[in-house]
């Protein structure tokens, strides 16, 4: 592993040193328009990170449930979309509400049967949700088999926006409609969630319960209902993420694992107290990944970003955006 990381880290240097032809290529790749294109497309990565991390920001950030089954809720959303397209021939956008409701119901059942019994015991929750993720993967595999599944992207979202073209008319800086669509969905969901949390009485109840459960109970808040509703909402958001990315990525039972790590990095980097933190976390991780990967390569960029997150958490364990609290 170390050997692998080292050799891939050295490969650009190796290319520069060994092959004159490759040197030319590297120089060409540094052209400004290519970099601008990469930065713009980095926002596409940011959008996906934001979308997939939003559900976790609720279940972990707000409720403090160490939810290792988050990736599997994303997968459930993707499979609901696949199933509805397959049986009812529905447009992808039409399936989004069903993905939300479907995963939210599963989330509510999980809260009612497992999570509820484990509040205040983070380690047990960790093990329980990890077990749950294995069970969910197994169940989906039994129903839909291990084969990769095909989800059709809406035809009106194919093509892209060209911001800059060369003389021949081929785009130099462009981003596809679908990635733009993902960014818009992610920002809209973030705005809706923030409104729900900071602008409605339901949101006030949630914050009251997470800050002081027994006091909220004394004041007549139905904490059990609030807990279930919040967890279900977080899972529903993960379901939407799964539905939206299913047409750009791959739908398969283990797909959630990939997003789980990224989502955790985003939530932890951004800070768990404020929802706006995940916007900053997603932006930092997405763009630094995109830019580093452009100059080096993908695996190296991931190693560097992960290392940077570890250093950041060492010095700011509460993440970038924190609220001063009395303990």
């Amino acid at each position: 592993m170390l050997d692998l990381a080292l050799s891939s880290m050295l490969s650009p240097v190796y290319l520069l040193a060994q092959e004159p032809a490759a040197e030319e290529v590297v120089k060409e790749a540094f052209k400004f328009s290519s970099l601008a294109n990469q930065v713009l497309n980095g926002f596409g990565i940011v959008g996906i990170l934001l979308l997939t991390a939003l559900g976790l920001a609720i279940t972990f950030g707000v409720m403090r449930i160490i939810n290792l089954a988050h990736g599997e809720f994303i997968m459930l959303g993707a499979y609901i979309t696949f199933w509805m397209q397959d049986t009812f021939n529905m447009d992808l956008l039409m399936t989004i509400p069903f993905a939300f409701v479907g995963t939210a119901i599963v989330g509510a059942i999980v809260e009612l049967t497992i999570i509820r019994r484990l509040y205040g015991r983070p380690l047990e929750t960790l093990l329980a949700t990890w077990g749950l993720s294995i069970v969910l993967q197994g169940v989906i595999k039994l129903i839909f088999t291990a084969q990769l599944k095909y989800v059709k992207a809406p035809s009106y979202l194919s093509g892209g926006i060209d911001l800059l073209k060369d003389e021949a008319g081929s785009p130099l800086v462009s981003i596809s409609y679908y990635r733009t669509f993902i960014i818009v969905v992610a920002l809209a969901l973030l705005a809706i969630t923030m409104f729900l949390f900071y602008g409605t009485s339901w949101g006030r109840q949630i914050r009251a319960v997470t800050q002081n459960r027994s006091m909220a109970q004394c004041l007549g808040v139905n904490t059990k209902l609030v807990d279930m509703g919040t967890f279900a909402y977080g899972c529903g958001l993960a379901g939407i993420a799964g539905a939206v990315i299913s047409a750009l990525k791959t739908v398969a039972p283990p797909m959630g694992q990939d997003y789980l790590v990224d989502s955790w990095m985003v939530v932890v980097t951004g800070g768990v107290d404020k929802l706006i933190g995940i916007l900053a976390g997603a932006f930092l991780i997405g763009e630094s990944n995109a830019v580093l990967a452009f100059f080096l390569n993908d695996p190296t960029a991931r190693v560097l970003v992960l290392g940077a997150v570890i250093v950041l958490i060492r010095y700011r364990p509460e993440g970038l955006f924190t609220v001063q609290k009395r303990t």
Binding site: A21, K31, I48, L148, Y150, K249, D298
Partner: protein, 469 residues
């Protein structure tokens, strides 16, 4: 048998959890820690051992003295998507041999009356578990040989086991070459049956500049190294060489680098669930197959079906077999496979290799039993050398010298319906050469008769020319 398998898992998983747990277990008692780790071990067993040890679907009466054969494919984890289909193809072949149907019709049910008992294990896409499961199959289940493995990483993991214990592995996958073991029969493509034809084809039809991509592990890196050497030999040039972590589904950076380098074609050695994501994002980023075709090795009918044929139309794959190959054997294979596993399934080249190697094995066993011998590693090895079979792809043969298979070399252009139009094919099966002649000029592999397991490599100093069956 199942219990033994569980114990292997318990021991392994417990070891891992024991070492991991203290990191997260600040300030809770030793007793609780033990409870947690046994719980953790319990869930892992569920994941790793489901389906382990059972005979694959054929619980029918196996008669007296069945022949025990190990089947080593992952049905859980990241590689399960591919390996499950290899397992399916293997089960189809075993079913046909046991019941005397399909290509085995002339031989009657079983191998000289004895049936095959498959001992199925699931290594959960974990390279270390392949090693342990191989040991278990050989030592505890006493199988005569093993059919299995997909990735080169898993093959490298089990290779020392088969060599040390002197048992036989039938390996059905196109691979990077540079190997010639007395304990492995390689029935997938060697480099010269896939790379050596596809690179000159790309050079002539698309242009001299190639961009090479792949998943970040041994097969794609070695395969691309050989392909780059072939391209340079043909007079072309590699304008990029990029790798993505296994299982990655975000390719916008690599696609932007491809755009910046403006190559004439892209050579893809991405594997598994990365493939559909890459083709989709490739088209989504405004690149199309007419201006910039992708030539790929691991992209087969299965992945095309998952990405949607509209994303693959116009791109190319180089393989020995396509579902659209027109032979009576293939027609029968496709319909028998669909009959057993469902109409919506497709067949592909790796599955075909998994299918034909089971028949190579069965034919060799039949020869041994008819000669009145016992099936042992020595007799099976000698009997498998030179076996011929009318495969779905055409007539193929196990090379008696280097234990690889004579296979057809084909290039398919994907159509709108998800099937390939074959644009290049050799007239007969090509003799396998395990070492790329662009990198290791003149190196060949000849096992002595009978095989005494001495070093089989020979340096001729002269470039080996293609030979046909």
């Amino acid at each position: 048998m199942r219990l033994k398998g569980l114990i292997v898992c318990v021991v392994k998983e417990n070891k891992i959890k024991m070492s991991k747990s203290p990191i997260i277990s600040s300030g809770f008692s030793r007793r609780k820690f033990l409870q947690y780790s046994s719980l953790a071990a319990g869930t892992s067993i569920l994941a790793a051992c489901t389906g382990g040890g059972s005979g694959g679907g054929d619980s029918a009466d196996l008669g007296e003295n069945p022949i025990k054969v190990g089947v080593l494919y992952s049905t859980t984890g990241t590689i399960a998507i591919v390996e499950k289909s290899l397992q399916d193809a293997t089960f189809l072949a075993i079913d046909q041999i046991n019941n005397g149907t399909g290509p085995w019709e002339a031989n009657g049910a079983g191998i000289s009356g004895r049936k095959i008992q498959s001992v199925v294990v699931n290594p959960n896409s974990d390279w270390d578990l392949y090693n342990q499961m191989a040991k278990r199959l050989i030592d505890e289940d006493q199988v005569v040989c093993v059919l299995g493995c997909y990735t080169s990483a898993s093959r490298k993991s089990v290779l020392p086991v088969f060599e040390e214990k002197d048992s036989i592995l039938y390996y059905p996958v196109y691979y990077e070459g540079n190997e010639c073991s007395s304990n492995v029969f390689y029935t997938g493509a060697a480099p010269n049956q896939q790379i050596t034809d596809s690179i000159p084809y790309s050079f002539e039809n698309f242009g001299p500049k190639g961009f090479f991509i792949g998943s970040d592990y041994i097969y794609p890196k070695e395969s691309n190294r050989i392909a780059i050497a072939e391209l340079e030999k043909a007079g072309g040039q590699a304008v990029g060489d990029e790798y993505a972590a296994l299982g990655t589904t975000e390719f916008i950076t690599i696609i932007n680098k491809i755009k910046a380098a403006s190559p004439d074609f892209v050579l893809s050695n991405l594997v598994g669930d990365s493939i559909p994501a890459f083709y989709r994002q490739f088209k989504d980023a405004g690149l199309n197959a007419e201006d910039l075709p992708i030539m790929a090795y691991p992209t087969t009918e299965e992945e095309i079906q998952a990405m949607g044929p509209e994303y693959s139309a116009g791109h190319y794959t180089s393989f020995n077999y396509f579902q659209s190959v027109e032979t009576p054997e293939n027609e029968a294979f496709v319909s028998q496979f669909k009959e057993m596993f469902g109409d919506d399934r497709v067949t592909n080249g790796v599955m075909e290799a998994a299918y034909i190697q089971t028949f190579f094995m069965a034919q060799a066993m039949k020869d041994i039993l008819e000669a009145g011998d016992e099936i042992t590693t020595e007799t099976l090895r000698e009997a498998t050398r030179g076996q011929e079979f009318n495969a779905p792809q055409g007539r193929v043969k196990v090379d008696p010298d280097n234990y690889h298979a004579y296979l057809y070399s084909r290039i398919g252009k994907w159509k709108e319906d998800g099937q390939a139009e074959i644009v290049f094919a050799t007239d007969a099966a090509v003799k396998p050469i395990p070492w790329s002649q662009a990198l290791y000029k003149g190196r060949m592999c000849v096992h002595p008769v009978p095989d005494d397991r001495s070093d089989p490599t020979k340096e001729t100093g002269k470039e080996l020319v293609p030979e046909f069956l």
